[in-house]
Symmetry: C2
Subunit: 335 residues, 2 copies
C-alpha cells in the first residue's frame, strides 16, 4: 500500500492575496524599488541580487507597512520606498542568519552562503543593510530613521543573546519572549509604525503596538508549524527546530509536564549532535501529548486578540480590515 | 653567532602622541563614549566589548575627526560623540573583515572570530554597526548621517568586489585604487568631513578631500610595511599579504618589470595554497629589485603632497599643523 497524501485542509482564513488587494498596485512596485536601491556596478552584486529576487518571500513586512499607511485615508508617496527599505533590512538579517546557522536552503532555494560562500554572505548582508540605511537617510525623515534603526538594534541584540545561550533546555519562557520580540516583533512593529508615519501619523502608537503584537503571533505560529504541519515528502512534522536544538514555545510549555522517562527522551535529542528521525518524531509526539501545542496555540491567539484590540480607535476601512485579516492569516498559515 | 636585532631606526617624523596633543582631552573621552553607545544588558555583549577595548587601536579616525573639527577655532560638543561613532563603524568593519578572512590575530590579540566564534563575529559586527547608526540618528543631523552612511556603502561594496576577484594576479592597478578608496579612503574622508561639520563647516570640501587623500596614503604605506618592515621575531619582512595571496601596489608595480624566470617564481607563490617562507622571502626580494617599493613609496608621497595642498585655504593653526604632521606620520610609521 502506498502512502496517500492527506487532503488539503480547507481553511476559512483569508488568503494573503485578498489581504493585499487594496495595496496591490503599490506592493507590485516594491521589488523594482528594492533593486533600484541595491543596484551597483559590480557583477557580484548583480548575481547576489538576482538570486535574492528569485527567493523573494511573501513581502509580509511591506504588506503591513503599506496597509498601515492607508488606515487614515491619505497614504503618502513614501510608502513604497519605505516598504522596500524595510524588506531590505529584513533580507539583510535573513542573509546573516542563514550564514550564522550554515543553512543550505531557504524556501527551497539555496542560501547565499550555500550558493556563493560564507564570506560573500557576510559582506552581502552588510551591503544590503548599508544600502537600505543610505536610502532611509536620503528620504530624510529622522522619525523614520529612529523607528527602523531601533528595530535593527533589537534584532542584532536578540541574535547575540541567542548565540550566547548554549544550554538549550535551560532556555526559559521569558528568554523565548525576549527573543521573539527582538527577532520578529521589533521589525513588524517598526513596519507598522513606519507605515503610520507615511499616512496615518495620528495612529502611530496604535499601529506600532498592533505590528508588535502581530509579530509575536507570527513567530509563535511559525514555531508551531514545525510541530504540526506535515511535510509533503515525509507526511510528518519536520521538527527542524528540534534537529537544530532550538527550543521554542511548544517544547517550553511541555517541559514542566513531562514524566521522568519523557524528560530523558527529550534530553537525549539535545545530547545527540545529529538526532535520529524517530527520536525527533518521538519528541514531537511527547510535546503534543503534554499539551505544548495547545498552550502555544492559545498564546498566539491571545496575541492576535490583543493586536486586534490595539486598533479599536482606528475607524473602519478596507485597510484596517486587511490588517485584522492578516492576524487570522498568520494564525492559520501552513507554511 | 646569535642574530643581533637591528637598532631602532631614528625618525624625524612626528609621533602620534604629539599629533594628538591639541585634542588630547577630547580624544581621551572617546573610549568611554564608545562603550556608552554599545552597552547592553547582556553578558555576551559585555565580554565582546571588553575584548574589543583591550585591542583598541591607535584611534586614528577619531584623531582626524577631532583635529578637523578644530581647524576653524570653534569645535562643537558633538565631536567626541561623532569620533566614537566613526571608530565604531571602523571596528564593525574590522570585526567582519577578520571573520571573512578567518584571521586569528589582530595587533597581537585574538580576533572575535578566534576567541568566540565565527557566528558571534558576524552578529557582533552587525550589533556595533547598528548601535553606531542609532547613535548617529540620535545626534539628529542628516548631513552627518549622509556622510557616514555613504562611507559604509563604499566600504561594503569594496569588500564585495574584493571577494569577487579570484584571479589575484589579474588584479590591476586600477582595481587596487578602487579598493583602497573603498576600504580606507572613504572612512577617513568621512571622518575629516564629519569633523568639519562639527566646527569648521566652511572647510567641509577641503577637509573631506584631505581625509580621502590621507586615507590613500595611509593604505599605500600600510601595504608597503609588509614588504619593508622587519618583524621582531624573524628579522625579515612579513610578506603576510603575499601569504594570503593579496596583491597590493608594490607587487602590481613590479609585475610588468619581471623577467620570465621571476614571473614564474611569483606565480608559484600564488599557485601554492600555503607558500613556503623562503618562497615569500624570494618574492619580497624580487619586488624590491624590480622597483615595486620605489613606485609605491613615490605614489604614497604624491598622495601626501596632494593632501597637504588640499588644506591650502585653511588658515594656520595647531590643528591644521597636526593634520599635516599626520601625513608624515602615516608615511613613516613602522607598524
Amino acid at each position: 500500500m502506498t502512502a496517500v497524501p492527506p487532503p488539503p485542509r480547507m481553511s476559512l482564513a483569508p488568503a494573503l492575496l485578498d489581504i493585499q488587494a487594496c495595496i496591490r498596485s503599490q506592493l507590485d512596485r516594491v521589488p523594482a524599488e528594492m533593486w533600484r536601491i541595491v543596484r551597483a556596478d559590480a557583477p557580484i552584486i548583480e548575481s547576489v541580487n538576482a538570486h535574492l529576487t528569485g527567493m523573494k518571500g511573501k513581502m509580509f513586512r511591506p504588506t503591513v507597512l503599506l496597509l498601515a499607511s492607508r488606515v487614515d485615508g491619505a497614504p503618502d508617496e513614501r510608502g513604497v520606498r519605505m516598504a522596500a527599505v524595510t524588506e531590505l533590512i529584513h533580507l539583510a538579517s535573513v542573509v546573516h542568519d542563514d550564514s550564522v546557522d550554515h543553512s543550505p536552503l531557504r524556501r527551497g532555494m539555496p542560501t547565499i552562503n550555500a550558493l556563493f560562500s560564507h564570506q560573500v554572505a557576510v559582506i552581502a548582508g552588510d551591503y544590503l543593510y548599508s544600502r537600505a540605511l543610505a536610502e532611509l537617510v536620503a528620504v530624510g525623515d529622522l522619525e523614520l530613521l529612529r523607528v527602523l534603526t531601533g528595530a535593527s538594534n533589537a534584532m542584532t541584540l536578540g541574535e547575540l543573546r541567542q548565540l550566547a545561550s548554549y544550554d538549550a533546555l535551560q532556555f526559559s519562557e521569558q528568554d523565548y519572549w525576549m527573543l521573539v520580540q527582538a527577532k520578529t516583533a521589533s521589525l513588524l512593529g517598526a513596519a507598522a509604525e513606519a507605515g503610520a508615519l507615511c499616512g496615518a501619523p495620528r495612529f502611530r502608537r496604535q499601529l506600532a503596538r498592533f505590528g508588535h503584537l502581530l509579530g509575536m503571533a507570527f513567530q509563535v505560529a511559525d514555531d508551531l508549524l514545525d510541530y504540526t504541519e506535515s511535510e509533503s515528502v515525509t507526511g510528518k512534522p519536520s521538527g527542524n527546530d528540534l534537529k537544530e536544538h532550538k527550543v521554542t514555545l511548544p517544547l517550553i510549555a511541555a517541559l514542566p509536564r513531562l514524566s521522568q522517562a519523557q524528560r530523558a527522551r527529550v534530553e537525549a535529542v539535545f545530547a545527540a549532535s545529529v538526532p535520529a528521525e524517530d527520536q525527533i518524531a518521538d519528541v514531537v509526539a511527547i510535546v503534543h501529548e503534554c499539551g505544548g501545542i495547545d498552550v502555544a496555540r492559545r498564546k498566539g491567539e491571545e496575541f492576535a486578540a490583543e493586536a486586534e484590540s490595539a486598533l479599536v480607535d482606528v475607524p473602519a476601512s478596507e485597510a484596517r480590515q486587511a490588517l485584522i485579516d492578516a492576524l487570522a492569516y498568520v494564525m492559520d498559515r501552513r507554511s
